[in-house]
Structure formats: structure tokens, C-alpha cells
Amino acid sequence: MKRYDLIVVGAGPGGSVAAMTAAEAGMEVLLLERSRYPGEKNASGFALSTKAWRDFPFIAELDLPSMRYNRLCVAHFLSPPPEMEERFTISSGPSRRMSYPEARDFFTAGMLRREFDQWVAEKARAAGATLMLESLVTGLRRESGRVAGVVLEGGEEFAAPVVIGADGVLSVTARLSGLRTKWRPDQVISACAVDYAAPRERMDDVVHEAGFQAYFGPGIGGNYLVAYADGLHLGGPGVTNSLVSRLNRSHIKPARELLDTLQAPPTRRLLRALGARPREWQAHLLPWMDRMPTNIHSGGLMLVGDAAGLPEPLYAEGVWQAMYSGRLAAQVARECEEEGDVSAASLARYLERLEESPVGKEFVGGAELRRLFEIMGDPGLSRELTELAVDMTVNLFMSAQEPKAECVARALPLLAENLPLLMEVARIYLPMLLEVEGERLRGYLAAVKGLAALLGGSAGSAWDEGDKAEGGPR
């Protein structure tokens, strides 16, 4: 039986970064992949965010044929079916307030997983890791109760003090280790997508750098468009509507719902303008958690990426999280092996560091972020919010239909009229604000309170209530 220092199950971005990190540190690494080449099994609609450029120097070399930089994010708000026409659209370039240069330059780069996963796996191989393809793990080796290697389908065994499970949402290692039997239906979303081919010149002319677009509307819970150099990906039925528990409850068919919403006239006009042709149908589950899972390691085993349930709670972005957790797990594996202790207690530092890392911070306000998508998927609320945005925009900036001063004067009462609706949105953002800026906000409140006292205001009782809530949201 061959022995390694580390075995990584799954050559997606998480597994390959783990293998690369360990191999660069001098460990002997076995990287196992069940498909014929990395990325073959991965539904795309994939866009890598600038966080990967910030955190991984090797990403600076990334230059793949399918890459298209996204410098314009677009959100379309459609009218209810059967019209499903454009009612309101927001589009924006990157903000100059972001904290690192790439984030001020672009949002994401769209590319095919087929290309990206192979590129990262090649980095791992070049660093010295052994990549074994078409190798399905069906069992775990155990030594004194700890995970100590893997068993392949054919019976072949490999030993290592630590195994990293980077084997995706339906992680075999998570299940075999007993960390998780399966996700609950309210923890995963079922995403379907149509991948289209479109000539590069038309993509350049029509889509250009509007590489990520989302479609909302009554009954459309956030379908998404991701653009590549010579094609695009239309996925859905939106993050909100594709929570498995919700689909179960209402017996909506995700595939049917996506196919129906692809009939929206703006989508069809875009596809015709691009000369697009359907190229592939894909379907995949994604973990969608409102807080960071904590049951992600045991003696000799760490889960990373989707296997650990790390996609963030707003868009379910997961590749950067997989890479980040993969690197961290490899670093922890090396430390613990050097210390000669790969017990669950020793590997617990993986969870601790991950919770404090940017990956963990993405889960701050997780429950509220999920609620935001629920609002956008709710037919009534979604419609009201859209029409409020239309009213504000038209009356403040656009109307040539009525005297301008009268239109502008209409805006403030409109906001007041829609206070209950705006409170729905505030209920999402305020707890998040309190969580990250609690001290500062309480400082402001104290200052205002002091000022009110000086002025002899009557606000006393209201502020006293505020004091009671100062324990914070958690």
C-alpha cells in the first residue's frame, strides 16, 4: 500500500489548491479525481471574484481562452408573467471605495470550469502532487479511530495521516466519515442552467463587459447570466426559488421554471441578438447556508469548499471559498503532521482559523442576506419594490410628462408612503450593520442621546429602550 503525507479527494479548485499548497511545502501528495479530467463534472455559470486575485498570487497568471472580465453588474427587474418585460434596470461598474486594486477594476471574470479546473490541477501537478484521474473513492481507511487514508472503488488503498475532502456538495468523504449523512432540504439549492455558444464578436458588441446579470421579478427569484468569451450561461430558477425545501413544498419543477423564465422577451431578444445556440443543459446542487457550518473536521479529515458547505449566503459564490479553505486545510495538515498529532482536537485549528478568515466573515448577516433573496422572490414584495424604484427614478430624474418640480416634490411622500416596505429591507441591513459596526453605531446613538438630554428633549423613553437592546443581535 502506497503511503502519502496527504491525500486530497477531488481535483476541483479547492482540492487542487490544497494539493498545490502541500506539495509546495514539500509534502508527498495524492490528488484523486473521479472524472476523466478536472472540471468535467462541474456545471459552470462560473465567475471568479477579485478576492481570488487578492489572496492567491498565482491567479495573476490566469489567462484562459474562455475568460471574459466583468466590469458591469446588471440587475433586471421584470414585470409579472405573462409579459415579463423590463420594468427597471440597475447597472454599475466597480466602486472606487473598495480596499484593493483588482476590486476597483472589475467584479469577476467568467470562464469555463473545464478550463479553470484543469489549469489549477496542473499547478498542483507542477508543484509535485500526483494526480490520479478516473478514481472514485468509496471507502476510508481508519487507524485507531481516525481517518488514515482512502479506498478506491477497485479496492486499491492509499494511506496518509490526513485526508482532505474536497469532493463537492455530495461529499463522499463527509458521509463515510460520519460528519454528515446528507444536507437538509433547506440547506441546498438546485440550480439548472443552459449553456449557450455565441460568436465572440457578437459577445464583444452586445454584452461587452456586462458579464454578470441577474433577473428578478414576480416569480423569478434571481435567474443569472454569466458571460464568457464566446458564450454565456443562463441559470436558475434563481437562488431564492431553488431552495430544495421550497421546491419540495410547492412541487415546482426547477427545470420547468427555468425553461419558462428563459421565455422572457428581454432574454430572448438578447439571445437572438447574440446569435446564441443552446450548447449544454446542466444541473447541480449548491450548499446555501445562513451560517458557517462547524461540523467540518474529524480525526485525520478536513472538509473544504462545497463539501464543507462554504458558499456564501447571498449569491452562493463558492470557488474562492473552496480555494481559501483548501489552502488553509493543507497548511493545518502540515503543521499537525509536524507536531505528530492529527487528532480531531489538533485539527480543530482549521475550523477556528476559517471562522476568523474572510470566508467566515462572509457569513456575518447570513440569515438576513438569505431573507433579502426571499423578498426578491416573493411576488408581492418584489413587485412593490420594483414599482417604488420606478416611481423614485422617474419622478426625480426622468419625467418630461409632468412639471418637473411637482414630480420632485412627489418623491419624499412616496418614500413615507412605502415605509412598511422599506422597513422590510431595513430589517435585513440593520442587524448586519450592528454586527460589524455595532460599537460605532452605539457611539453615535449615545452622542445623539446626550444631545437630546441637553436640549431637554422628550425622547427619553425611546432611548431607554434602545439601551436594553445594546447587547447586540447575537
Binding site: 473521479r34 472524472s35 476523466r36 472540471g39 468535467e40 463534472k41 462541474n42 456545471a43 459552470s44 474562455s66 469555463l112 470550469r113 473545464r114 484521474l133 478516473e134 478514481s135 472514485l136 468509496t138 478506491l152 472503488e153 456538495v169 455530495l170 463522499v172 446528507k182 444536507w183 432540504p185 441546498v188 438546485s190 439548472c192 443552459v194 449553456d195 455558444a197 458564450g231 430544495v244 421546491l247 419540495n248 412541487h251 415546482i252 419543477k253 426547477p254 427545470a255 425553461l259 428563459l262 421565455q263 430572448r268 439571445l271 437572438r272 446564441a276 445556440r277 443552446p278 450548447r279 449544454e280 443543459w281 446542466q282 444541473a283 447541480h284 446542487l285
Partner: protein, 106 residues
């Protein structure tokens, strides 16, 4: 290997160039081994699997779920049926290494 485009029409809408035929747009390298398992005794007939399958491979018959016989040639291994079945009647593993769904973008 089953070639793309051999079946068709099922999802055609308006019969135009944008019609999406799921079955024609999926490529699967078949294996001789089962990887989705139904324990009919535990099935409560709730229909979750029928609703969730993106390839419509489940149907209800006599109040119980039934998996299409040829599922191994079209299943995209999403595992939705496994997660959606709250009765624990569906189990999902993976097809053998090197087989199953292949996304080629071609």
C-alpha cells in the same frame, strides 16, 4: 458514448433555434453500474423526487415513486432526488470513475 442530438423535441418551444431540448443537450458516458437506489418499502409517495429531478427521471405509479429504467444514460448526477426525499427512500452514490455526465461545452 451517447451522442448529443439523438433524441429531441421534448422541450421544444415554438420550434425555434432557441428551443432547449434537455435530453439532446446532455452527454453521458454510460456505466454498467447503478448509482441511484430506491427503497420502495420506505417510499411515502410524497412526489418530491418527481418534482425536483431536472431530467424528469421519476414518476409516480400506484402511489409510489419509480425511477426510469434508462436513467443511467441521462442522469446528470445532481443528487437532488437523494436530498429531496425526506423519507430516506432514495440513495445516491456516484457512477464509476471516468463515467457518467460529461460537461464539454461543445
Amino acid at each position: 458514448m451517447r451522442e448529443k442530438g439523438k433524441r429531441g423535441g421534448e422541450d421544444s418551444r415554438g420550434g425555434d433555434e432557441l428551443a432547449v431540448d434537455r435530453f439532446a443537450l446532455v452527454e453521458v458516458i454510460p456505466s454498467g453500474r447503478d448509482f441511484v437506489f430506491l427503497d420502495a418499502e420506505r417510499c411515502t409517495g410524497c412526489g418530491n423526487c418527481v418534482a425536483i429531478c431536472p431530467m424528469d427521471l421519476w414518476r409516480m405509479r400506484g402511489g409510489r415513486a419509480e425511477l426510469a429504467e434508462g436513467y443511467r444514460e441521462v442522469c446528470v448526477e445532481c443528487g437532488s432526488c437523494f436530498i429531496a426525499c425526506e423519507a430516506g427512500a432514495v440513495d445516491f452514490t456516484y457512477p464509476p470513475g471516468g463515467t457518467g455526465v460529461a460537461y464539454r461545452y461543445a
